[in-house]
Amino acid sequence: MPITTSDVSEYLRKVAEVLAENKEYLTELDSAIGDADHGINMDRGFQNVLRKLPAVEDKDIGTILKTAGMALVSSVGGASGPLYGTAFMQAGMAAAGKRELAAEDLLAILEAALKGVLMRGRANLGDKTMVDALTPAIDAMREALENGADLTEALDKATAAAEEGMKATIPLIAKKGRASYLGERSIGHQDPGATSSYLLIRTMAEMAHAKQA
């Protein structure tokens, strides 16, 4: 069953819900190694996405994702705004004109999103950032699809890999962003950006399960 435009809108609504639920949790993670606003900023950003969504819901998937990206860029602030904003804008460009997505299309879109994040943030794997959750997730999804898995299975693998990547940020020394000024004091804390990225991937898998049921 392909992913439709309404699935994409539904996904953005679910993400807004999940981030609202995890607002305190993300902010708490951020207060240990950042400036204690990641949950607040992400929640504000996705509330803004919800406001912009009705105007583009009948448009193609590319337009919906690009609109979400612009909404994030203009409301999140900090580093997360440009990073998630660029991710959704690049995803939107990869989905331009499409009204349906096969599993392979979704993979290509996620790859484009990650490429955008890497271009904007210049982080490497292991720098204790969102890249540490997104990279293994996308690698796992690609591998699963290559081995004949369906979308739901592939997204489950992606979620498991994102979770592992997120947890693996705990012993790392931060090398990017505000947390990098802590040096060794950043060890022992889970990266908030990797955590929000994991939540975004997990929400995709949850939707795939709900759709299959």
Binding site: D35, A36, D37, I40, N41, V73, S74, S75, V76, G77, G78, A79, S80, G81, P82, L83, G85, T86, R120, G121, R122, I173, K175, K176, G177, R178, S180, Y181, L182, G183, R185
Partner: protein, 357 residues
């Protein structure tokens, strides 16, 4: 939390409303997106300077909008980077056709948001250059961190480059001058107390009654060390020597190449200070430290500079780049040449810096 505010979420909006009412002859304020701009913008034929960053550092940057300094300032939420839509709209408002220089403090969020804004402005046909200010010697390496933070030198760069733009420098020349100011400026700060972000409601960090943090950032980022409180003279010596004895600092920054029209990585090295240098000495209050203490610091700084063979040819003393109500001080030394001295002395008329007019 004890603050003279109404609601934490209204702090920035109400501050901007107050500023607009206080200085109608100098500045105008645009809301949603928020930016402060020169009342007489766009100034014909002049390169326009725009800066911005989180709020909470007043008077920087909004207080420096006006003749001889910035054309616009984009305030974010307290200690949060502004967003590209603010920077883009500000650029459209103040652009006279001579181009825009974004002066960006080196914080991950600020750098990325200004890069996006520059891309968006160029897509609309506006010429934009970005120069990063990264002068905080408390951060030693650039390889394993986001690099030195942008602090006191930002104020000096805005004044000097603002005067240059007023004099008719073109975009490339103003950008080169800004880079020169940045590599010749070094700063270091310290805190006696934390500050409280209104939305957070509690102090950013804990510092015991008899402790201080040396090398603090302007958002309360951790410094080099935390130690028992010392005398003003000893603190001044620690800060001044960290600056004066700092070795050559090399890092790579991403800049827009105006000729090649693409982002390029540029490697730059700050030359160390040498005996015989002429400097501007800037003693800055973090917000909660009064002038009486700043002069005690300046007195010792003057003595140390003399001993090290540095001649203070200009100074700036007061609260210019603050961290809300934090008690503490930062010192900036900027190596000056004749061109910079002349531009420093040029007339300026902004809400918070005004001379020669």
């Amino acid at each position: 939390m004890k603050k003279l505010i109404n609601k934490p979420e209204d702090v920035v909006k109400e501050e901007l409303e107050g500023m607009a009412l206080a200085f109608p002859e100098l500045i105008k304020v645009h809301f949603e997106p928020n930016y402060i701009y020169r009342a007489d913008a766009p100034v014909k034929g002049k390169v326009a300077l725009i800066s911005g960053g989180g709020s909470g550092h007043e008077p920087m940057h909004g207080g420096f909008v006006g003749m001889g300094m910035l054309d616009a300032a984009c305030p974010g939420e307290v200690f949060t980077s502004p967003t590209p839509d603010q920077m883009l709209e500000a650029a459209k408002t103040v652009n006279s056709g001579a181009g825009i220089l974004y002066i960006v403090k080196n914080y991950t969020g600020d750098v990325m948001n200004f890069e996006m804004a520059a891309d968006m402005a160029r897509a609309e046909g506006i010429q934009v250059a970005n120069i990063i200010i990264d002068d905080d010697v408390a951060v030693k390496d650039s390889l394993y961190t986001a690099g030195r933070r942008g602090v006191g030198t930002t104020v000096l760069a805005e004044k000097i480059c603002g005067a240059a733009a007023e004099k008719g420098y073109d975009l490339k020349q103003v950008a080169e001058l800004c880079r020169k100011v940045n590599i010749n400026g070094r700063s270091m700060g310290m805190a006696l107390t934390s500050c409280t972000v209104p939305a957070a409601g509690k102090p950013t960090f804990d510092l015991a009654e008899d402790e201080m943090e040396i090398g603090i950032g302007i958002h309360g980022e951790p410094g080099r060390t935390r130690m028992k409180l010392k005398s003003a003279d000893e603190i001044t010596e620690m800060l001044a020597l960290s600056i004066i004895e700092d070795e050559a600092y090399t890092r790579t920054v991403r800049e827009w190449d105006l000729e090649r029209e693409e982002w390029v990585d540029v490697e730059m090295t700050d030359p160390p200070f040498e005996a015989g240098d002429k400097v501007l000495a800037f003693v800055n209050s973090m917000g909660g430290t009064p002038l009486i203490e700043l002069f005690i610091i300046y007195r010792k700084l003057y003595e140390i500079c003399e001993k090290k063979g540095l001649t203070i040819v200009r100074n700036l003393i007061g609260p210019y780049i603050t961290s809300l109500e934090m008690q503490g001080v930062s010192i900036t030394l900027l190596k000056m040449d004749e061109e910079m001295v002349e531009l420093w002395d040029a007339p300026v008329k902004t809400p918070s810096m005004r001379w020669g007019v």
